[in-house]
């Protein structure tokens, strides 16, 4: 018997229809059972009732006056009328007030066509206004922040945006300013509205007051062709709708009923769409000539050359001279074709890992999103999910809203707004887990030793009856699929470290890189990767853009991005999610799957029939129940973060923390012209006293040095929240790639110059 059976049901009548709903249901929700449309503006199922707009008036028998359906709980025997003379009169009165000073600029409003105010004014609005005076005028097109434009005249002050910012994100920057007829939406601080979830307010806004800069004046909603798909910008796997018009993506919108995202999107997932149509996309295969330039070649030629190099390598040096890296950004079907084609040739040096992350599977305690939001203790270890899996972080905030504590472990402070404690080590968790009954661990999958400590703790908690759930927030969106579907080294074959080492030793003849950019992300660092690629006979790279890595390849194949192909991916909770093509890919590009199928045909190797791939992929995930932090995933060269801290000469140096950022990367964000304002610039963040000790001032340009490796021209930022004795830099920035540095190692500060001097030097 499930607990559901115990829910007491209440009988009531809505418009003559008998309705039976659980006790405590709000009338506005109960009415949905009889498909009655009660108009709402301020009410939203995820935000709860606010009782502000007053449009949801209904007539309840025996009540002295009209009641708002959004804050009325059903009671036994209640008789409700949602239409009729009395109700209509009330709603017409509210509608008259709503429209009184509304500009009615629907013809130039982006919301026109999907606007609740427009829709309900058809039902309850008068054809002429009784207002004999000019409408009150308010500021229009206010730049609210890097993503949003606000029109105060259109705003009906339903407070959905400010309530979202308070209830759901807990960031509390949006407020209602002033009062009465003068009230406007603004940030409390007066600073621009910055949030990684800002785009959600444009969807919550029932009118055209809040609009996305990326979508303003781009399209009418009815001109958009919509496709339901899955976001592949991170490992969460939020469902979203892609709107396309005249072959260009106009916008993406969330799916309110989605079980994965809970109806929200982060700004990376929502706004990072302009790269699809960027002119810098590669649209033809490119071959490097002996003199070093790229020449365009045809697809048949390209696949033949790839196949020939593979065949020749097998013939001359055996399959051990071949390796492939990739899969974390591919679809399940593509990963399978890749792994099967390579293995059919006898290739075993296959790895999906092209960055810091080592492990993607959460182990035996792998949890669901419901486990996460019902936990009473959430522990995030390593990089904060707020930057690596933003919408997952909203789940954590939801858990905290429900009473959970949120503890972060490691050298990265989280900007989740709900952190109760921050600890240095997993071993410090002992006191925190004592009273918890449902513990969720979210790990970044990077430091296997730290993961193993967490696994040990999880195991001991589970042994004494505590409910444990584990999650890995990955660097690459489908890392879990890649790890499960054959792109992990097996039986002693080389991982990506081993592959690049073999390449540098001149042992590799063909290296295929599929949707990876090790030059920017691999911890061996750019110079080692460059060396490895240069010493390999033939390097193939499938890419959207000429990234740092693609520029070095011998053959670059123009790939397709997520909205341009169909298939499936795994989310970090192990669900298989459908990806559907919703955008016409540029001519000349091919999905990795199509390239690989052509390659397999050219090589004459047998792979599974394409229509069986999905079933095969979905069955494979059960085989990955490896423990959280399994040592087999550890880097051979890895030192644990606990020992790294003590290395080096700390007297002249600081520890470097290499932070994740939702808008870093060298691919889709870097080649998105509309995201310039959101992309982080290379910075070095210090705590106030650390900066004082080092003689660094805000705005100074600094370099960081460790041996031969340098990070040049970082702008110093000084904050009160940064940890002491640490300099934080952002990972994955093409202008200052930090991948050569190990998280936690000691670096020296060099060449500190004031912004003024730097400017003068630049001018000279």
């Amino acid at each position: 018997m499930s607990a559901r059976v115990d829910v007491k049901l209440v009988n009531l009548t809505i418009d003559g229809n008998p309705v039976r709903v659980p006790e405590g249901t709000l009338l506005v929700e109960a009415a949905k059972a009889v498909t009655t449309d009660i108009p709402v503006y301020c009410y939203h199922p995820k935000l709860g009732p606010a009782g502000l707009c007053r449009i949801c008036l209904v007539d309840i028998e025996k009540a002295p006056k009209l009641q708002i359906a959004c804050n009325t709980t059903v009671t036994e025997g209640m008789v409700v009328h949602t239409y009729g003379e009395k109700v209509d009169a009330g709603r017409k009165a509210v509608m008259e007030f709503l429209l009184l000073n509304h500009p009615l600029d629907c013809p130039i409003c982006d919301k026109g066509g999907e606007c609740d105010l427009q829709d309900y004014s058809m039902a309850y609005g008068a054809s002429a206004s009784r207002l004999a005076d000019p409408k009150s005028s308010k500021p229009k097109a206010i730049d609210l922040g890097p993503t949003i434009v606000l029109d105060d005249e259109r705003c009906i002050v339903c407070q959905r945006c400010s309530r979202f910012d308070e209830i759901i994100t807990n960031e509390r920057s949006l407020v209602v300013k002033d009062r009465g007829q003068r009230d406007v939406i603004a940030t409390a601080s007066g600073e621009p509205y910055r949030s990684n979830f800002s785009g959600n307010v444009t969807e919550l806004c029932p009118v055209g007051a809040l609009t996305s800069k990326t979508y303003r004046f781009k399209s009418r909603p009815w001109d958009n062709a919509r496709t339901h798909t899955t976001c592949t910008q991170c490992s969460v796997g939020c469902a979203l709708n892609v709107d396309e018009r005249y072959g260009a993506i106009t916008r993406t919108m969330s799916d309110e009923d989605d079980a994965v995202s809970d109806g929200w999107l982060c700004d990376r997932g929502r706004y990072n769409i302009a790269f699809y149509g960027d002119a810098r996309r590669i649209t033809t295969p490119m071959l490097r000539t002996p003199t070093g330039e790229f020449v365009q070649i045809g697809w048949d030629d390209a696949i033949e050359r790839w196949a020939k190099h593979l065949r020749d390598a097998v013939a001359s040096d055996g399959a051990d001279s071949i390796a492939a890296i990739g899969g974390g950004r591919l679809l399940n079907e593509e990963i399978l074709v890749l792994a099967q084609t390579m293995r059919a040739l006898g290739v075993t040096h296959l790895d999906w890992r092209a960055g810091r992350q080592r492990q993607a599977s959460p182990g035996a305690y792998g949890g669901t999103y419901v486990d996460l939001e019902t936990a009473d203790l959430v522990v995030a270890i390593g990089r904060p999910p707020s930057q690596t899996a933003p919408v997952l972080d909203l789940r954590i905030r939801k858990a905290v809203r429900n009473g959970a504590r949120y503890v972060t472990v490691g050298s990265h402070p989280s900007d989740s707004f709900v952190v109760s404690s921050h600890l240095a080590r997993v071993s410090d968790l002992a006191a925190h887990v004592e009273s918890a009954t449902r513990v969720a661990f979210v790990w970044d999958g990077i430091d296997a030793a730290v993961g193993a400590q967490a696994a040990e703790l999880a195991e001991s908690l589970a042994a004494r009856g505590t409910h444990v759930s584990t999650f890995v927030a990955s660097e690459q969106s489908n890392a879990r699929g890649a790890e499960a579907l054959g792109m992990s080294p097996q039986n002693g074959s080389a991982d990506s470290d081993g592959i690049f080492a073999a390449a540098r030793a001149g042992k590799l003849r063909v290296l295929s890189l599929l949707g990876v950019n090790p030059m920017l992300h691999h911890p061996l660092g750019a110079s080692a990767i460059r060396d490895a690629i240069e010493r390999t006979d033939f390097v193939v790279c499938t890419e959207l853009f000429l990234t740092e890595t693609a520029k070095l390849a011998h053959l670059v194949l123009p790939a397709r991005a997520a909205f341009e192909k169909s298939g499936h991916v795994y989310d970090l909770a192990g669900d298989v999610l459908a990806v559907n093509a919703g955008h016409t890919a540029p001519e000349g590009t091919l999905a990795d799957a199509d390239m690989l199928v052509a390659l397999a045909a050219e090589l004459d190797v047998t792979i599974a029939a394409p229509d069986s791939l999905h079933a095969q992929a979905s069955a494979a995930i059960v085989a990955t129940a490896t423990a959280f932090g399994d040592p087999k995933f550890a880097r051979a060269s890895d030192a644990t973060s606990e020992t790294i801290g003590s290395k080096g000469d700390a007297r002249n140096g600081v520890r470097i923390a290499i932070a994740a950022n939702i808008f870093s990367g060298g691919g889709s964000v870097y080649f998105d012209e509309r995201l310039a304002a959101l992309r982080p610039s290379p910075t070095a963040t210090f705590a106030r006293e650390t900066a004082a000790t080092l003689g660094v001032h805000a705005g100074d340009l600094v370099d960081l040095v460790a041996g031969e490796r340098t990070l040049v021209g970082l702008v110093a930022i000084i904050t009160d929240t940064a940890p002491s004795g640490v300099v934080t830099v952002i990972d994955g920035l093409p202008d200052a790639p930090a991948n050569e540095f190990a998280d936690g190692e000691t670096v020296a500060l060099a060449n500190v110059r004031s912004a003024e001097r730097a400017l003068t030097a630049g001018a000279v």
Binding site: N101, R179, G180, D183
Partner: protein
């Protein structure tokens, strides 16, 4: 019946701000009795029997309000509402400045009676002087051992926190006041849940008016029968009435409830020489006007309600035959439009609409249809809002438009003109 000084006794004669003087007159004796000799239930019982009704505006029986608190061990709070801002009301202001210890004693008794250990006093931001006087009173009472740990040798502990408002009428509404104390925007909360269940910091909370609480020591001292012996059956006791407008001696006068309005007029010195009172607003800015024919009505909660208006906070404003009711209406509508928090659509938009319309009528641009519109819009915005502020415009406006329609119509110069928006 003449003026009867109970809460106002000693004001203007002795320096009641001085703790020693207040104590010489029996001050804090009831607080000692309450804690040392009575149980909270006994005080609740006495209050219930006294029939004391809230003096802040709604007139809800205080004992019943307390009885809504859940019977549990959660922390609970007493909040004293001293955000007096109803147009025409200035009694709490006086009590705070002149008899701060009497107010504090009442607050402490109320706090003890509801089983709370923490009282919050929300003082209107503009009451700077009253705030300073009250803070001194709290400090003196604390030094004398009336606030703090183990009061009068018992194990009862109590603390008092004083919070200043920042100038918003709406913060007199109890849930807006609670939001304001919590540091949130001062706007009313959606009810249910009511403060008795989920109030300040989400705990059970009672919000009582200054005058209501200041009455408690007197009821404890004299017994509930003393209180019910005066006033009417359903409106027992004494009430401080703030009389203002066209009278010779405006001021606060304490009278038994049920005293005829004409007597209030007489106590306040009567109308100005040669003038006739044509209207009286009996319960603050939110109440409907009464007229000459109503002057003999008894001033109590039920008589006022039966005549379509209310006693409210006890602010009586007299209007004589020199009054321009269009200007008077604009003054009040401007106030409510300015003070609307803007949460609810009808209140936010309706008040502003009426304001600009009245201004245009006064400026000579009115149409006959505007006058009908004033009545219809003020009615239309009533009963649709989350709190009573939006319902506060109709009573006065509709009553004076009906009574003095000619004054409004006289402003219309071009009856048939059709207004064209600028």
């Amino acid at each position: 019946m003449p003026e009867t000084k109970v809460l106002t006794a000693g004001i203007g004669e002795a320096n009641l701000r001085d703790l020693a003087i207040y104590r010489e007159r029996g001050g804090y004796e009831q607080w000692r009795r309450a804690v040392a000799e009575m149980t909270p239930a006994q005080i609740q019982d006495v209050t219930m029997k006294s029939g004391l009704r809230g003096r802040g505006g709604a007139g809800f029986p205080t004992g019943r309000k307390w009885s809504f608190l859940p019977k549990n061990d959660r922390p609970r709070y007493m909040v004293c509402n001293c955000d007096e801002a109803e147009p025409g009301t200035f009694k709490d202001h006086m009590l705070l400045e002149e008899t701060p210890h009497q107010v504090l004693e009442g607050i402490l008794i109320g706090t003890y009676a509801i089983g709370s250990h923490h009282a919050f006093v929300y003082i209107r931001g503009e009451f700077r002087k009253g705030y300073e006087i009250f803070m001194q009173a709290v400090a003196d009472a604390r030094a004398a051992g009336f606030i703090g740990e183990n009061i009068f040798g018992t194990d009862y502990c109590v603390d008092v926190t004083v919070h200043r408002g920042a100038g918003a009428y709406i913060c007199g509404e109890e849930t807006a006041l609670i939001n304001s104390i919590e540091g949130r925007r001062g706007e009313p909360r959606l009810k249910p849940p009511f403060p008795a269940i989920k109030g300040l910091y989400n705990e059970p909370t009672v919000v009582n008016n200054v005058e209501t609480l200041a009455t408690l020591p007197h009821i404890l001292k004299n017994g509930p029968e003393w209180f019910t012996a005066v006033g009417t059956e359903k409106s027992p006791g004494y009430k401080i009435v703030s009389v203002s407008g066209h009278v010779k001696k405006p001021g606060n006068y304490e009278v038994p409830l049920g005293t005829p309005i004409s007597e209030l007029l007489a106590i306040a010195g009567g109308p100005r020489d040669g003038r006739t009172i044509v209207a009286v607003q009996p319960g603050g800015g939110s109440s409907a006007c009464l007229f000459q024919e109503h002057l003999d009505l008894g001033y109590d909660f039920d008589t006022m309600a039966a005549n379509g208006t209310m006693l409210g906070s006890g602010a009586v404003v007299f209007f004589d035959d020199t009054t321009n009711f269009v200007e008077a209406a604009l003054a009040l509508v401007q106030f409510y439009a300015h003070e609307s928090c803007g949460q609810c659509t009808p209140c936010r938009e309706g008040g502003h609409w009426l304001e600009v319309t009245l201004q245009r009528i006064l400026d000579g641009g009115g149409m006959h249809s505007d006058i009908d519109m004033l009545v219809s819009v003020s009615h239309q915005m009533t009963g649709l809002n989350l709190c009573p502020l939006g319902d506060s415009i109709e009573p006065f406006l509709a009553s004076v438009v009906k009574r003095f329609e000619a004054q409004f119509r006289a402003y219309v110069r071009t009856p048939e003109r059709v207004a064209v928006p600028a």
